[in-house]
C-alpha cells in the first residue's frame, strides 16, 4: 500500500520532471516543504517563500509533511525526482530530518531550513531560526508582569521532537523561576495543537481551579487554551502565546489573550529563498549556516502593527 503510493508519487514526479522542461522557468524549481497550513504560521512561511521565489524567477512546488517524518521523506523523494534546484524546509523533527536532508544533498540539491533546526550542521546549507530563547524570555517577562509576580500558573508545551518546544520552555523558566511566588501547578504538552490545547486546558482547570495564568509554547495552543477558558467563564486568566499570529493579534485587541512573541516567519522564509538564490548563483550564501533572528514582544501597545507574521514600522 505504502510502497504503491510511493511508487505512484515517484512515477508522478518523474512524468512531471519529464514534462516540466516545456514550461520550466529559467532559474529552475524550488520545493517548499512545511508542516500543515492549518497553523497560519506555516502558511505564512510557504506564502513568503513562494512569493520571493517567483520574484526571483523560480518555479515553485509547495508541499506539507503534516509533521510526519515518513511523509517528509516521500516529499523529498518527489523534490529529488523533479530535479528541484533547492529545497526550503520547515522540518518534521530534529533527528528524523537529518537523513532526508542528507539524501537531497547526495542528489546535489541544497536544503535551506527555516524555523526548526536539525541536530547536525554541515548537511543543510542554511538553518535560519527564530531566536527562541531571546523571544521566550521576552514573553516570560511580560507574563510575570501580568501576573503581578505571583500566583499559580500552567504551561503548555509544544511537540517534544521539536527543539523549539524545549528551548522556549527553558527561556520561560530562566525568567519565571526567579520569582519565588510564581508557582507552576501544571505543565503538559498539547503538541502545538489548538484542539489538543482546548482539552488539556479543560483538564488543567478542573484540577487547578485557582490558576491565574497560562504560558503557551505557541499561538495555536494559546488559542485553544483561551477558548477553553472562555467556555469555563475564566476570562480573568492571563494567557501569553508565542508566534505572533493574526488570530492572537485579534484576541489581544479584543481583550482576550494578553501577549505573544512575534517570530519574523514571513521574512525568514523570504531570506531562506534569497540565500538559496545566492548559493545557486555563486556557490556560497556568504553567511554562517546557522542563523538566529530576534523576536519581538507583541501586546496591546503594538498589536495594531502586526500583520501576517511581520511588524509594520
Amino acid at each position: 500500500m505504502k510502497l504503491n503510493r510511493r511508487l505512484m508519487i515517484s512515477a508522478f514526479g518523474l512524468s512531471l520532471a519529464i514534462a516540466m522542461p516545456g514550461f520550466a522557468s529559467a532559474e529552475g524549481l524550488i520545493a517548499i516543504i512545511t508542516p500543515s497550513h492549518d497553523n497560519p504560521f506555516f502558511k505564512a512561511e510557504a506564502v513568503g517563500a513562494e512569493a520571493r521565489a517567483k520574484e526571483l524567477g523560480y518555479e515553485t512546488v509547495v508541499m506539507v509533511h503534516d509533521d510526519d517524518p515518513n511523509k517528509q521523506s516521500e516529499l523529498f523523494g518527489t523534490a529529488i525526482a523533479r530535479g528541484a534546484a533547492a529545497i526550503i524546509l520547515d522540518n518534521a523533527g530534529a533527528d528524523a530530518t537529518v537523513a532526508a536532508v542528507q539524501r537531497a544533498k547526495d542528489a546535489g540539491i541544497p536544503s535551506f531550513l527555516i524555523d526548526r533546526e536539525i541536530k547536525e550542521s554541515g548537511i543543510a546549507v542554511s538553518q535560519i531560526v527564530s531566536n527562541n530563547y531571546q523571544g521566550a524570555q521576552l514573553g516570560a517577562e511580560e507574563f510575570v508582569k501580568l501576573m503581578g509576580e505571583e500566583g499559580q500558573y500552567a504551561e503548555l508545551l509544544g511537540r517534544e521532537a521539536d527543539t523549539n518546544a524545549g528551548i522556549r520552555s527553558s527561556g520561560y523558566h530562566d525568567i519565571i523561576d526567579q520569582y519565588p511566588d510564581m508557582e507552576m501547578v501544571a505543565q503538559q504538552t498539547a503538541n502545538w495543537s489548538q484542539t489538543e490545547a482546548y482539552t488539556v486546558m479543560e483538564t488543567m482547570l478542573q484540577a487547578h481551579p485557582d490558576i491565574k495564568g497560562v504560558i503557551s509554547g505557541n499561538d495555536t495552543m494559546a488559542m485553544g487554551a483561551w477558548a477553553a477558558l472562555e467556555a469555563a467563564g475564566r476570562t480573568d486568566v492571563m494567557v501569553v502565546g508565542f508566534d505572533g499570529s493574526n488570530d492572537v493579534r485579534d484576541s489581544i485587541k479584543a481583550g482576550g489573550i494578553k501577549a505573544t512573541v512575534l517570530q519574523p516567519a514571513y521574512r525568514q522564509a523570504q531570506l531562506a529563498v534569497e540565500q538559496a538564490d545566492q548559493y545557486l548563483k555563486t556557490g556560497s550564501t556568504g553567511v554562517e549556516e546557522k542563523q538566529l533572528m530576534d523576536c519581538v514582544l507583541i501586546n496591546g501597545d503594538n498589536a495594531e502593527q502586526l500583520e501576517t507574521f511581520a511588524l509594520s514600522e
Binding site: 525568567i175 531570506l271 533572528m293
Partner: protein, 215 residues
Amino acid sequence: MTPARTALVAGALACALLPGCKIVPNPDPESDAAAAPMDDDQRMALQAAQIFDERLPAYVQDHVVDAATLRAALADGLDTAGTAHGIRPGSEGSPWNFVLRAEGQVVEADRESRAASMVLDSNGDGQGDLTVQLGPVIRGTALRDALDFLIFTDFRDQIEFAKLARALNDQAHQRLALPEGNLVGRSFTVEGAMTLPSVDEPWVVVPIALSEVAP
C-alpha cells in the same frame, strides 16, 4: 612479544570479529574521565569557565570601547558606532553588542533582588546611565553575543547555545568581588558586555571585571 601484549592482540583480533565489542581502557580513578559523562549544563559550565580563564582577558583588551568614546560614536547612529566598535553575528536583524569600559559613581543599587543590580553615573551628570547586572540572576545573552568566537553553527542546537549564555552569566556573577555594605556613593570601574538594540535603549551590562575606585 610479551605474553600481555599477545593477549591484547588476541583480544583485539577477537573483538574485530565481534561487532559491537570495543576496547575501553579502565579510567584512571583520579582523572576527570572517571566521573560520569557530563550533561549539557556541566559541559557548558566548563566551557564558560575556560572562556573566562583563557580567552576573555585578551578579547576584552582587543574589543573594549570606552563609554565616552561609544557615546560620541552613537551620536552618528547605531550602525556607525557598531561598525567602529561593536560585534554582531552575521544573521539578519541581529542587534549590535559592545564590550564596554566605564567608570562612575553608584547612584542606585539593589542588592536584595535575585537579579541584583547597581546603576552608575558614567558621564558625571549626576544621573544614572549604566546598569550593571550583579546577579545571581543575570538576564539576556549579551556576554555570549559579544564574543565573536562563539558561533551558533558550532553548537548542537539552540538549547546548548542558550545554556552557554546562561553559564557565562553565572561565571560573571561568581567572579564578582563586591565590597560589603551600601554601594551608593562609591565609585567603580566596570568592563562588561551589553546588547544595544537601538540608540535610545538603556545601557545594561553583564560585568566581566569590576573594581572599586579608591575614594
